[in-house]
Amino acid sequence: MSLLSQKHLLGIQDISKADIRLIFETAKQFKEVLNRPIKKVPSLRDITIANLFFENSTRTRVSFELAEKRLSADVVNFSASSSSTKKGETLIDTVNNILAMKVDMIVMRHPSPGAHAMLSKHVDAQIINAGDGTHEHPTQALLDAFSMEEKVGDLNGKNVLICGDVKHSRVALSNILCLKKLGAKVRVCGPPTLIPKYIESMGVQVSYDIKDSLAWCDIANVLRIQLERQDIKYIPSLREYSIAFGINKSLLNSLKKEIVIMHPGPMNRGVEIDSDVADSEHSIILQQVENGVAIRMAVLYLLAGKKE
């Protein structure tokens, strides 16, 4: 019956709507497992997974590691700062050396867009993208959409706003692809310097007016200002950004309806989102984190179920 169409999870671009539905259905069952007294099932006990993080992460890394452990897989962790890549080893060599130690799956975060797709052509292991530069972050998009559906039901025809630093955000790209596949209407909003050119060609609306956009949407996914990718000045100052595009309580109160607030983390409190919003009942930020483990369990489980 149920198999993913892909051997790897490189991006939302490669998977179908049926794949997304299957991941959601499976994640629901894993969410129930996570609420049991013993939160562990033996499905992947014969699998070894390497988590390769060439870029910093707390949430995604902990979430993947927990998902792997809840499925009884063996886990090895690796971070670029303490590895031979510093000595000049190529990515393919690094990965092949790890695979020679009988590793079955690779979960990788890498600063170069497309690193996973390249790797998938050169090594013999299943690869899961945990973020490649400014390109995609598929599991985040899946858990976001899953959390949205949990809150508001079927996303078909719903209005979803993605606001903030769209240009540098892999979360935004994966989110747009995923939401479009599920039939949602998507709008992006932010300062013109942080909205990529030609993004309309993906079938999304563009707005520079945060208040109008909030009034339009059912759900707002607030993105982080990526301080580490601001090598040239895209915005005059964080304070100015906060005044023009920050989400705060009084802004939400001025709308005549309730909307759901999401944030993929890590939050810059007081910049793109204020504490009185982040900690309010509108926010499902911590549910997103909880669902992240269930979604990643589903992805790992379904990919492991694909025989060669």
């Binding site: 019956m1 499976t26 069952q29 129930e32 007294p37 013993i38 099932v41 179920g305």
Partner: protein, 184 residues
Amino acid sequence: MSPRIILDTARFQLVIDRLCHQLIENHGDFKETAIIGVQPRGIYLAERIAKRITTISKNKNIPIGKLDITFYRDDFRTNNSPLKANKTDIEFSLEGKQIILVDDVLYTGRTIRSALDALLDFGRPSDVELLVLIDRRLHRHLPIQAKYAGKTIDSIINEKVLVEWQEQGEEDKVWLIDKTNLEK
């Protein structure tokens, strides 16, 4: 070989009645007993039995749960099409309870092996009994036996037992069919 009926609708009901009476004989008022159906097809039988016991013995509060074993199966990754996961729904503690594990057909015993693993993750029952509608007593892979069996049959590997339920819009019936020609 053409498909043949091994339990028709009338006998189906008799068998369920008999199983219920056996359970009542052994468990009395069901104070320390719970029924757990194995997803997906053990659920129909579990619910039917709980309902029937309620009618026979006026015992209203029999705890009944659903157990999904998908993530505990030992044929994951060797089977071409993994099973779809179902809901697990056990809203009571298993600690110290007598558990009646219910499934429709007992064959290799591997499903029940998985079910025992899954069950024990919810606590430590005082004992676990197995109840099945059909016991295919040949070709067991593991040392697992049912305490209560609706009907015991001898069948060969090429045959398949198909249980049809009212709940699925069919008449209650059990068929023995030849796998080589799967149309009924």
